[in-house]
Symmetry: C2
Subunit: 408 residues, 2 copies
């Protein structure tokens, strides 16, 4: 499969944007046509999952219905409308000896995506990699194997009808654990592995992989309410960051409040959060201001709840806030609320996170909200891609140099 992916990658790299977009539209049509087949396959997965005693949340992640299939197809069609980064000249200059150097975006080559239960990842990931001229090897979770096979078959059939090279999108038909180890050792054939799933999966891939891995670890996101925070804005941003979608990586997990702002802001903020069903866990100082609050333990500061729980700490000032975030955070997304521009600029400069925000909800750390049009994930790495990853982050570059006989 690796050898075939490499061969396909060379053919993919030569497709024009128009050719790729036509193939994408054909894939979208094929997914729509195959909807009954995909739903049938999904029913098998749901039956198996129920038999295995999967939780309701797991079963919901696994479940497809006509609306979700239409969303997959529409998503593919939307990727066809996005600008193609491949071929873009990133930089160009001439040297005194007359050689002209161009740095040009090219596909990465071959990418393995290892993911867990959501079958829509089969289409989302394959399609973004394809748009950027990369060949993919997909390895989905065992719970979704029938759905994944049906979706991959639709992409392959629809793609082939419009000129998709053979083996450009391959799905590993089995879901044994060994396949992850085999992929991780294929550095000759795979340029990149992207694990999409829980920490356990990422850890396994990281410890085995010989090639680059782009990791999407957790988001322990902070909102820091500075002394000069506007109370209404502080409450709105805290409530939105925490409760808009608590189960995602850009949701707020820890609130830091300046000592001077706490007496004014904390009581109404706590009331607003409790209205939304949020459990509050506070440091000793927080508990002197708010009644009936669970004590936060040391572990709380480094916990990604992904739930309606919020830890609250009162800090002495911005130094304290920055130090706390850099120590306990996951370097994902952290936001300051303040009317003090100097404090905001310090926060943006000194917090070591992929996304640093001033007076903005943490929920904006998102490829769609950034205007990327599509997102393959939010990288917690610092190399190659950091933060929301769009199409551009699925490309590499090469230097094309033109001369007229220059020697050294």
């Amino acid at each position: 499969m690796g050898r075939r992916a490499r061969a396909a990658a060379y053919r993919l790299a030569q497709l024009s944007t128009a050719q790729k977009d036509a193939i994408l539209r054909s894939m979208a049509a094929a997914v729509r046509t195959a909807a009954p087949v995909i739903l049938e396959a999904n029913a098998l997965d749901l039956t198996d999952g129920t038999g295995k005693g999967l939780s309701a949340a797991m079963l919901d992640r696994l479940r497809l219905d006509p609306t979700r299939i239409e969303a997959i197809a529409a998503g593919i069609g939307q990727v066809a409308t996005l600008p193609d980064p491949v071929g873009q000249v990133m930089d160009a200059w001439e040297r005194p000896n007359g050689i002209r150097i161009e740095q040009v975006r090219v596909p990465i080559g071959t990418i393995a995506i290892i993911y867990e239960s959501r079958p829509n990842v089969t289409a989302d990931a394959a399609v973004l990699c394809f748009k950027t001229g990369n060949a993919t090897i997909l390895r989905g979770g065992s719970e979704a194997i029938h759905s994944n096979r049906a979706i991959a078959a639709a992409l392959q059939t629809g793609g082939a009808a419009a000129g998709l090279p053979d083996h450009a999108i391959q799905l590993i038909p089995t879901t044994d654990r060994e396949s992850v180890a085999i992929l991780a050792g294929m550095d000759r054939w795979l340029d990149l592995i992207i694990p999409r799933g829980g920490k356990g999966l990422i850890e396994t891939v990281v410890s085995l992989a010989r090639m680059p891995v782009i990791k999407h670890y957790d988001g322990i996101c902070h909102l820091y309410l500075d002394a000069a925070a506007d109370p209404a804005m502080a409450i709105a941003l805290a409530v939105n960051s925490k409760t808009h979608k608590p189960g995602v990586c850009n949701a707020l997990e820890t609130l830091l409040v300046h000592r001077q702002a706490a007496p004014t802001i904390l009581p109404p903020l706590a009331a607003a959060l409790r209205d939304k069903g949020v459990e509050l866990r506070g440091c000793a100082q927080t508990r002197t201001m708010l009644a009936d609050i669970v004590p936060a333990t040391e572990d709380d500061w480094s916990t990604e709840y992904l739930d309606l729980i919020l830890s609250i700490k009162i800090v002495d000032g911005i130094d304290d806030a920055i130090a706390h975030i850099n120590r306990y955070g996951s370097h994902h997304t952290d936001s300051i609320v303040t009317a003090d521009v100097a404090a905001a600029e310090r926060f943006l400069r000194e917090v070591d996170s992929a996304c640093v925000f001033h007076n903005v909800s943490t929920r904006f750390a998102d490829g769609g909200e950034f205007g990327f049009g599509a997102e393959i994930g939010i990288s917690t790495d610092k190399l190659h891609a950091r933060g929301p990853m769009g199409l551009r982050e699925l490309t590499s570059y090469q230097y094309r140099v033109r001369g007229n006989g220059q020697i050294r």
Copy 2:
């Protein structure tokens, strides 16, 4: 050491360019002042090396003299004059909801450099990482341990006098193999490992590392003489690419010649190469045109000689040449000689290498020749940095987003 490097990295990230450049100048002065101490330490390494029976080439790599120490100091001073990529705004845009997004270059953070015999790497690597605001942990080879300690001490002393944060540059005082394994597992404290040395070292690091590794594997570079190659230019580029400095990664290893160009070009080219002492190894067709030539075996096509040896293959055309390069090459640097612009453009587009050249010697694949001012190496990876790596490639980025209370 990892924890200290991380703490130092946060302080380094806040230094201004002027502060960093003053520290660099102070380091350069300290290296000059410490020259006698460094030479004494180097004498110990040379005595040990002679005792261990190191080859003359190895001893030469190890040897420092006043000229080489001055070159190290001058190199540090030169890095102080280079533009600082940290803080550069790579991209900036506003979203319809009014949030303003900036993508800003920031240091990577903490970098381990694992290298072999050349003691000058201690200074070169540490200084480039420092200029870009990164903390380094250096782990040199056992042969150069005394020299490395003396150079690191000079950098630390000179740096400290001008405000270098503590632990910004740390040298592992021992050289046991275990230290490589320990570094490779420190993904909490190290953002990147750069192994500089032979294939064995890189392989070890790749198989152990949990964090990103930027690899500098071999350069099996090709020159393809097309049907429309100018004979004089073809000969000049082949001789320069092969003989200008045969022991480096951008030296030519395999020459591909179009069947139609071979009868005209090969005989005078072979004579010119033999004049320079190059041993030629040819495919069957080559041997029908050139007398007394060693047959090339299958292994020759994937061998990096790093020596005055050249393998030659006659190909049927550009398809054949591109397929050969993508199959046997190391995706480092490959060049076409032709007056046919369409053929050249196809070669540049279809050869999957970091550097693809038209009518230029392969020897130009070099950070200095590209105008980067300094080079940490030539990456054979496709992620983050590909090809010659300058200061820019030692940075990451973060998204700084400013709003006025936006929520989702």
